[in-house]
């Protein structure tokens, strides 16, 4: 492992090349200026505020300020029964809500030593991947619109709706399904859902192909994202970056494949996509490939869906035995985990929510040093965060 100082040298070299490009900044000493972005700004997906001290067009220091949406879920979870907690945690990453429920349920199941029946696990995995597709689709359009391409975001909103319709058809909720239960699922799949979903997956693959040409193949997009916001793998890991952000830095790690949670990912053929560059372009590229891969995972799971019950035998009133458990899954934004401490009561004693975005953007003060103002937007967009996932 290379030392951090080497990475800092890399960062400094990057700053130096940028400074050389911008001769104006070197020759005419400009007065420092403080730029406030947000809390209401289209680039912040909610209410993230960014205070950047600038020297000319370059960032000297940038600091994200959050908490505008802090809802205290860790405290609230301490006064709610286990089934009630899923209602809360739906609202952490609101674009991929079902994916939020799964790790919490898995942690509770670990403590109770129950396992969902195979059919429930498979359907869970299908809905999990549908959440991922719905979530990342929006990112694919959103990053493009932040770089000035207006069309992709409309296409993203249009096509995401197909996936949301399928989630709604199965769970009853477009955004907050609240469908996962300790020991299984609330309901089985409705009739005809499997065929509809397969058609939707077909559409989403077309969507991915289209975006590959429309956005990734776009000269302006490449010029504005290649080489911007490079995250070296060791630095990313030390900051806790996970998900596509770290895979775009060449780290071959995906909790769907490498975790040991009770989901059906080991039953299907798929691959983990990585990119060696670590820049904004790589993060977009990895997410696009992952979306396409997710459609294949869904197809295969639906083909092999086992029959059987969708609920394990659990008591109607759920009391979780005393103990501690940590369960984490590969959510659309990265690793999401719940550390659940139980005292054998109806309610958890303590729930620590490990949300991906919080760690993912904790690297921004380091990453934004020395970049140009327009690149702030590129980097924030490519790191992809959901405010609910930061503020919890």
């Amino acid at each position: 492992m290379t030392s951090v100082s080497a990475d800092q040298r890399q960062q400094l070299a990057y700053v130096a090349t940028q400074a050389a490009d911008a001769r104006l900044n070197v020759e005419i000493e400009t007065e420092g200026m403080t730029l406030n972005i947000g809390p209401q700004h289209p680039a912040t997906h909610g209410t993230l505020r960014l205070v950047a001290r600038l020297d000319g067009e370059q960032v000297v220091e940038a600091e994200p300020i959050m908490g505008y949406m802090h809802r205290g879920y860790e405290k609230l979870a301490e006064v709610r029964t286990y089934p009630q907690v899923t209602t809360l945690i739906n609202r952490i990453d609101w674009l991929g809500s079902f994916a939020n429920e799964v790790p919490f349920i898995l942690a509770a199941e670990k403590l109770m030593e129950v396992e969902a029946p195979p059919r429930a696990q498979w359907i869970r995995t299908v809905l999990f991947e549908l959440s991922r597709i719905a979530n990342i689709t929006l990112f694919l359009g959103d990053m493009a619109v932040q770089l000035g391409a207006l069309t992709p975001v409309f296409m993203a909103f249009r096509d995401r709706e197909f996936v949301l319709n399928q989630i709604e058809a199965a769970t009853g909720g477009r955004f907050h399904p609240n469908f996962d239960r300790i020991g299984g699922l609330k309901d089985d799949l409705p009739q005809g859902w499997i065929d509809d979903t397969k058609q939707t997956m077909e559409k989403m693959r077309d969507f991915c192909d289209e975006f590959e040409e429309l956005v990734l193949g776009n000269e302006i997009f490449q010029a504005r994202s290649r080489g911007i916001g490079i995250v070296p793998a060791e630095v990313g890991l030390a900051y806790g970056l996970s998900g596509a952000n770290i895979r775009a830095s060449g780290v071959d790690w995906d909790l769907r494949r490498d975790g040991h949670e009770a989901l059906a990912y080991d039953q299907v053929d798929w691959k983990v996509w990585t990119h060696p560059d670590g820049d904004s372009f790589a993060r977009y590229w990895v997410r696009l490939q992952e979306t396409r891969e997710a459609t294949h995972i869904v197809d295969q799971l639906l083909d092999g869906l086992p029959s059987g019950p969708i609920m394990a035998k659990v008591p109607r009133i759920i009391k979780v035995p005393a103990g501690e458990a940590y369960a984490a899954t590969e959510n659309p934004l990265g690793e999401m985990g719940y550390y659940v401490v139980s005292k054998g009561d109806l309610v958890p004693f303590r729930v620590k929510i490990r949300s991906a975005s919080f760690s993912n953007i904790s690297i921004t003060p380091w990453l934004l040093k020395g970049v140009y103002v327009p690149d702030i937007i590129t980097i924030l967009a490519s790191l992809y965060f959901i405010l609910g996932d930061i503020d919890r």
Binding site: M1, V4, M66, G67, H70, E74, K75, L76, E78, V79, R80, T81, P83, Q84, E234, V235, L237, A238, Y239, G240, S242, V251, D252, W253, R257, D258, G259, H260, Y265, D266, V268, D269, W270, K271, V272, T274, I317, K319, A322, G323, E324, A325, A328, E335, G337, Y339, V341, K343, D345, L346, V347, R350, K352, R354, F358, S359, S362, I363, W366, D391
Partner: protein, 220 residues
């Protein structure tokens, strides 16, 4: 990039079952050797997880030992646990409207034990081993402070700020201990058990209907 076929995955899963206990035992032994007296206790759930409790003084050493010797380069998260049973009785914990006053339960720490009310918890993960470790440290009540991990894992910065505002734990050497979520003028440490959740004090949670018993059913 690796292409995984389902048979490979199955083999992998079959291998990790019996092996993981030994691997986790080995991790605990390695940490115990590296930390010496600083290593207090450990707890293993076979095939699932490993907990290690270290002395407060060995907190940063434990982090760097885990990073360098166990290859835990991924900083997962850091937080604290307040083991005090809620002094507000069951109305803080569950759905009863006007609970009978109840004697407080004795304080019971979880896996890997502990002696104090506040415990630090951090989780590190090894990308190469696909295995995580939870490290705990006791904090004495009269001195809620511990060394910062920023020099080992820069990502600890925000997590420590969160633990500072939520639990009132001071991190020695942290350059920037400010509120991260709460407004600057906020008083108190919300995640401590003796911090009342006012919304629940004022109005009982209507969720009580969820746990009403059916006729003939036995109580929880």
């Amino acid at each position: 990039m690796t292409q995984l076929s389902s048979t490979e995955v199955e083999n992998d899963a079959a291998e990790t079952g019996p092996q993981s206990d030994e691997r986790r035992e080995a991790w605990a032994a390695q940490l115990a050797e590296a930390l010496g007296d600083g290593f207090a206790e450990h707890h293993i759930i076979p095939g699932s997880d490993l907990w290690v409790r270290v002395n407060r003084e060995s907190w940063t050493d434990a982090a760097s030992a885990a990073r360098d010797q166990l290859d835990c380069q991924f900083f997962d998260w850091l937080s604290a646990i307040d083991w005090l049973p809620s002094p507000y009785g069951r109305d803080m914990d569950a759905q009863e409207d006007n609970p009978e006053p109840k004697a407080a339960d004795p304080m019971e720490q979880g896996h890997a034990g502990g002696e104090t009310r506040f415990q630090m918890v951090m989780r590190l993960y090894s990308i190469s081993e696909h295995m995580g470790i939870t490290i705990k440290a006791d904090l004495p009540d009269d001195d809620l402070s511990i060394d910062t991990l920023i020099s080992t894992f820069p990502g600890a910065n925000w997590h420590e700020r969160e633990a500072w505002e939520m639990f009132g734990i001071h991190f020695n050497g942290h350059p920037d201990l400010r509120n991260i979520y709460l407004p600057g003028a906020f008083e108190g440490n919300p995640l401590r058990k003796d911090f009342p959740l006012l919304a629940r004090r004022v109005k009982p949670w209507p969720g009580i209907v969820d746990v009403e018993l059916f006729p003939g059913e036995e109580g929880p």
